[in-house]
Amino acid sequence: MSDAAKDDVPLHRTLGLTDAEAARIVALMGREPTDPELVMFSLMWSEHCSYKHSKPLLSGFPTTGPRVVMGPGENAGAVDVGDGLAIVFKVESHNHPSAVEPFQGAATGVGGIVRDIIAVGAKPIALLDSLRFGTLDSARSRFLFRRAVEGIGHYGNCIGIPNVGGEVQFDERYEDSCLVNAMCVGVVPQDRILSCAARGVGNRLVLIGNRTGRDGIGGASVLASAELGDDDADKRPSVQVGDPFTERKLMDLCLAMSEAGLLVALQDLGAAGLTSAASEMASRGGVGLSIDLDRVPLREEGMAPGEVLVSESQERMLAIVEPAQMDAVVAMARRHELDATDIGEVTDTGELEALWRGEEVVRIPSLYLTDDVPFCEVPRDPAPTPEAIDLSSVPEPDDLGRAWLDLTADPNVASKRWVFEQYDQLVGANTMRRPGGDAGVVRIPGTDRAIAVTLDCAEWLTELSPYDGGMASVLEAARNVACTGAVPIAATDCLNYANPEKGSTGWRLAESIRGMADALTAIGAPIVSGNVSLYNESPRGPIYPTPVVGVVGLLDDASTSIGTAFARHDDAILLIGYGEPRVDASRYLGRCAGSPPPPDPDADAALYRLLATCARERLLASAHDISEGGLAVALAESAIAGGIGAGVAVSAGRRADEAMFGEGGGRVIASCHPAQVAAVSALAGDGVHVTQIGAVGGDDVVIDAGGSVARVPLRDLAQVWEGSVPAALEAQ
């Protein structure tokens, strides 16, 4: 590390600190920092750890509500779901590591988010993943996609947490900057929720799990805060290798220790390793921590103190333990075949101290690291508002059936079975609705309740109109949850954006956050956790602004959940919701262009209430939201899932193809016994319409849009829908 200094480049610049930041560090400290101290500052003040560009904007999110047990700021948020239990969840990105080494990058992304949930003392019960890559005609994108999916499967399957949902999109914009976001959901008795705040002077600081090596040094944190250029190969970190077997043991151990009341506080080690974990714990608890680096179990020889302090070796946790419990902690760790090592203690100084070979090499007030980062205003240069699509410029297909099949075969629309079949969806025997529907539904273990969870994002709309796009991302996720009959109760988000200092990215970030916040407030789902990933751009350009939203919904009676599959011949098909289909920014249009009408969060909220009431009263046999591909694709998906055809008739609106394939508004295709139609219709109101448009049955799927009729054999639709992603991957 001091090699660079010898070459006359000041160390702080090599570490990515600006001269102003370096000056501020000297001013704060009242002296020159030591090398290890400077390394610690550089990581803690990176965007990845400090959110220096995004934090000021995030304060706009609603974060409180009657169900919120723990909001943002801890390792993960928690919401009350009754019976004294809380559901704990968070979504996080691992974009940059996945672009370098997709298998390990994605795998360790799963490992990281799982440790966040464990740190709260919660038992993980579900995983989800949101993925974005370049289009599948690119060999590089196929490779990244394949390997990232394998990595997620490898890690998640091996630690035994069911994967119940997610999304995948392919677009040129993600060719150089793929996105890999993972979400974990856990459950914990509310009186056993752990905080990361260190407490109790004299208490022991205990490092649990894997040994510390040189993994990811100068890695994730530095890397995630700068664009990946072509000639940055030497900045690439030594790749972190995930070890799910150890993670499983670590999970079992931490939960057992928490249950036995052995822990005062718990924190995972992620980006910036020990530095970040210890400074968070100290700052949160308003105490100091003293670390004896010689006691940290190392995997490699000759590591420097700075390396030990920032190593990102995986599968490690940091705990605060009362001295009297140390023997029990060590014994329990040994039974789980893991190390638990006393590496220091809680002090009353408010400072982070580190000793190396008996000498003090670090002494920093922990707040300097966690709270004194200089925040940056992002420039907010608005982009012009795009024009609506002139429908006459969109060629009308001669064969609506052909167009329907082509749209269904678009890898962005088609089934993602190739992905989720590589994931264990069932382990734990609580999964009621598997991936492939609108949201995964998982019974809360030991209860009759269930949660519904999904991840979604409307990146095209966010590019075109960031406020509306932020809103649409929230509403689409919540609508997916509502289609299972669950009531959306809280949300988490992962903001994947390009360089906020360039172009209109900063404006898009701010506007989309505002849109998300307004939508979340309207539907009564506060944000309880989240993550930001900036600088997702390459010399070839920025990604779309991609605010991925995870929504959790609650079903008080698990047995009332609704699936997307048509169930019985002769059931009535209902169109429920609001808004008119538009080709603008639709998959049918096939490009990010146009200006769709803005979403209406109040009408969406009314739609969720209607669906929840229908579920409670067991009125519906199926419900499926209309999203990419419009009415035609939603109808096909419910028919394919049920193995039964369907026929519907709708108005052509402006044009038949727009009625069939257009997107927008908040619309759901549902089915019910004919005798229940009146009961469902009676629930209409608040801007939500219920219209009977057809019936389930037959071997074909048929849409009559104002007299233009498309009729396609169910078998053909199923074939392209199921076959297109595998076919695109095989076409090498």
């Binding site: 370098v100 080494e101 390990q104 894997n210 090596g213 040189r214 993994d215 690439r236 030594s238 790749v239 972190q240 290798v241 070890d243 077997f245 150890t246 995997r299 490699e300 070796s313 995986q314 075949e337």
Partner: protein
């Protein structure tokens, strides 16, 4: 046809969870004298055409080894 043997091992310093697990199991089974277990791959290929070792090296770079975490070695026995 030339037999070429490619060995791919975890890079020094990179975590080798498989080696760790095998070493632990061996110790439990009473093989206490074992340390530093590392598990990698051995790939045997028959290569036609000239410069089989050169071809194999190219294959390692392109597919057989992940050089971010693995080292490889090409050998033409006999």
């Amino acid at each position: 046809m030339t037999l070429v043997v490619v060995t791919v091992m975890p890079k020094k310093g990179v975590l080798d969870p498989q080696g760790q697990a095998v070493q632990g199991a061996l110790a439990h089974m009473g093989f206490g004298d074992v340390s530093d277990v590392r598990v990698g791959k051995r790939i045997e290929l028959e290569i036609a055409g000239h410069d089989p070792a050169g071809q194999a090296t190219k294959m390692c770079e392109d597919l057989l080894a992940n050089q971010l975490i693995e080292d490889f070695h090409v050998e033409v026995p006999g």
